[in-house]
């Protein structure tokens, strides 16, 4: 396959799975009898297993973070901008691990996988999981891979929150936390968006209280609407304006006088929504948005985030993007402030980018430069 993929890509990648037989107690009080995690790795683990970096995915992501799953795959993994030879998460130095979160729909145990008690897919019976549950479940993956301490745990958006949760819950098991375009908790506005998305799914007649697997049908319309709404919030007004403006088929003043797709932005959103339905499960979407809503490490400390972060020992790299209105710079600054209040080692940068929240997925030059520099520091510390 040499030459078929870009030189700075990890190229063809193969997903793996690992099953854990030991029951996992969840924050909800329920217990999973065992679970499977799907994951991918890029680069080579060094002899003392000191160069491993755990990458955590966002709401609709999965373990396919970089490279191509098949020679003819059209799009590479979701963090291709940042993972690969010479990229910030440099696979020449680091061994990168990315797993599909528990409750996901791409190979890890979740609503679409079989419930051992019934032999049927879990569907709506899959327990609600939290970011803390994800950290717990991933710690076993680290054990399995022989990694006692990650050189870094990194992620953007929900993945950034997960990196922060790692630093809080298992401080001895990571050397650095990379927290990008994240927030210490969702705002009311954010929860509101999630609720509209959930209602779109739950009010779809094909949803059937989440027990749609047996019917052979799925709440396609609801999930599509949820994704369309989400997608709007991941882009900035400027990014949408630049990408689509008021572009439409036909002459500028030649309207169709109907509700068919006319404007390019409509076409784009429908395409995004429809293609999402083909690769994502509605119950997983509900579960992931709820995990986001519940994330609030300060809650157990009377709202005092600095107190919640008191046990953190990993230096943190926090970055935000100027045009991100979903998880705005002010949210990242709140994390930084709490780290400062508790005298933690932290570096923070606010990257000028027009892409909105999705900027963390983009090859923004300033972003790549500062992220690369930070990871070089991490590499120097672990001697790779």
């Amino acid at each position: 396959m040499t030459g078929a993929f870009p030189e700075d890509s990890v190229g063809l990648v193969t997903p793996r799975t690992v099953h854990f037989d030991e029951p996992l107690s969840l924050d909800s009080g329920r217990v999973l009898p065992g679970y499977t995690l799907a994951y991918e790795t890029y680069g080579e683990l060094n002899a003392d297993a000191s160069n491993a970096v755990l990458v955590c995915h966002a709401l609709s992501g999965n373990h396919h973070a970089a490279g191509y799953s098949a020679p003819d795959e059209r799009k590479p993994g979701w963090w291709e901008a940042c993972i690969g030879p010479g990229k910030p998460l440099d696979t020449n130095r680091f061994f990168i691990v990315c797993s599909n979160n528990l409750g996901g729909c791409h190979g890890s145990t979740g609503p679409t996988t079989s419930n051992p008690e019934t032999g049927e897919p879990y569907g709506a019976d899959f327990p609600l999981v939290t970011v803390r549950d994800w950290v717990r479940s991933q710690a076993r993956l680290a054990d399995y891979l022989g990694i006692t301490r990650w050189a870094a745990v990194a992620g953007g958006s929900l993945g950034g929150m997960q990196a922060l949760q790692w630093a809080i819950d298992l401080p001895d098991r990571l050397a650095h936390a990379i927290v990008i375009a994240a927030a210490p908790r969702l705002s009311a506005q954010n929860i509101a968006f999630n609720e509209v998305a959930r209602q779109a799914i739950r009010s779809d007649p094909d949803f059937r209280e989440g027990r749609y697997a047996a019917t052979g049908d799925r709440p396609r319309t609801g999930l599509m609407l949820a994704r369309m709404l989400g997608h709007i919030t991941y882009l900035s007004e400027a990014a949408m304006g630049e990408k689509f403006g008021r572009d439409r088929r036909g002459k500028p003043d030649d309207y169709g006088f109907n509700y068919d797709v006319e404007f390019e932005v409509e076409r784009y959103l429908r395409y995004q929504g429809q293609s999402f339905v083909d690769r994502f499960d509605a119950n997983t979407y509900l579960l992931m948005t709820r995990a986001l809503d519940y994330f609030d490490p300060a809650a157990a400390h009377a709202g005092d985030l600095a107190q919640a972060l008191r046990g953190v020992t990993a230096p943190c790299f926090v970055a935000s993007f100027t045009s991100d209105w979903r998880f705005p710079p002010a949210a990242s600054r709140e994390i930084v402030r709490a780290l400062l209040d508790s005298n933690k080692r932290v570096s923070y940068t606010e990257i000028r980018a027009d892409h909105g929240h999705d900027a963390f997925l983009m090859p923004v030059p300033r972003y790549r430069e500062v992220f690369t520099t930070y990871m070089q520091r991490v590499a120097a510390e672990v001697g790779v």
Binding site: L340, D341, N343, R345, V346, S347, Y348, T349, V370, T373
Partner: protein
């Protein structure tokens, strides 16, 4: 890394072993790196310039992207032993407010600035009738980030007004050297002024 400039050497000498330090406008993080290594100091640098932030990260210091004109509200009262402001006082919107903020979050402040009453600058204005430029002030008037020039007399008057106690003053002339004249008539022969200040 190249050795510290003479003015930064003096600043470093004023920092005690193990001090908690906040460096306002830390540039490439060189001073903090030096303080971390030679004084076992800890703390943070604040910087607004993206290139400075990247170089600070490369130098292994904790750097926070910040606009000094928005104050130091991210920091608690008395959070630091030393708050350092080198060659930046003249570039902020409200030097008086920043000085107050410095001594809110720190026990001691260290401030260095170009003295606008330095004789070569006076010559520029008085004889040539042009806005002064020098090695310490290398920008043309229309592009300079330095918007609040002051003299040694001005600074000391402001400290008096704000109830700030001057613990120590050093004056350097051209090339950050320490000639006799600058200590005799500092406001005329001092090109760079360095102060250690605290709340009165």
């Amino acid at each position: 890394m190249s050795p510290l400039r003479a003015d930064l050497e003096i600043v470093a000498d004023w920092v005690g072993t193990g001090d908690r330090v906040l460096d306002l406008g830390c540039g490439d993080g060189r001073l903090l790196r030096h303080l971390f290594d030679s004084r076992q100091a800890t703390g943070y640098g604040l910087e607004i310039d993206p290139a400075g932030i990247t170089r600070s990260i490369a130098n292994g210091i904790n750097v926070i992207e910040s606009d000094l004109d928005e104050g130091l509200s991210d920091f608690e009262d008395d959070a630091f032993d030393q708050v350092i402001l080198t060659q930046t006082l003249q570039a902020v919107q409200r030097p008086d407010q920043l000085l107050r903020e410095m001594l809110r979050v720190g026990h001691t402040g260290i401030v260095t600035f170009p003295n606008f009453a330095y004789y070569r600058l006076r010559y520029h204005l008085a004889v040539r009738g042009r806005m002064p430029m020098s090695e310490a002030l290398s920008y043309a008037w229309y592009e300079t980030p330095n918007i609040h020039f002051c003299t040694i007399h001005d600074f000391e008057a402001l400290c008096e007004e704000l109830g700030i106690h001057i613990l120590e003053r050093r004056v350097l002339s051209h090339d950050f050297k320490r000639p006799l004249l600058a200590s005799l008539i500092p406001n005329l022969f001092g090109e760079v002024a360095l102060y250690r200040i605290c709340r009165a």
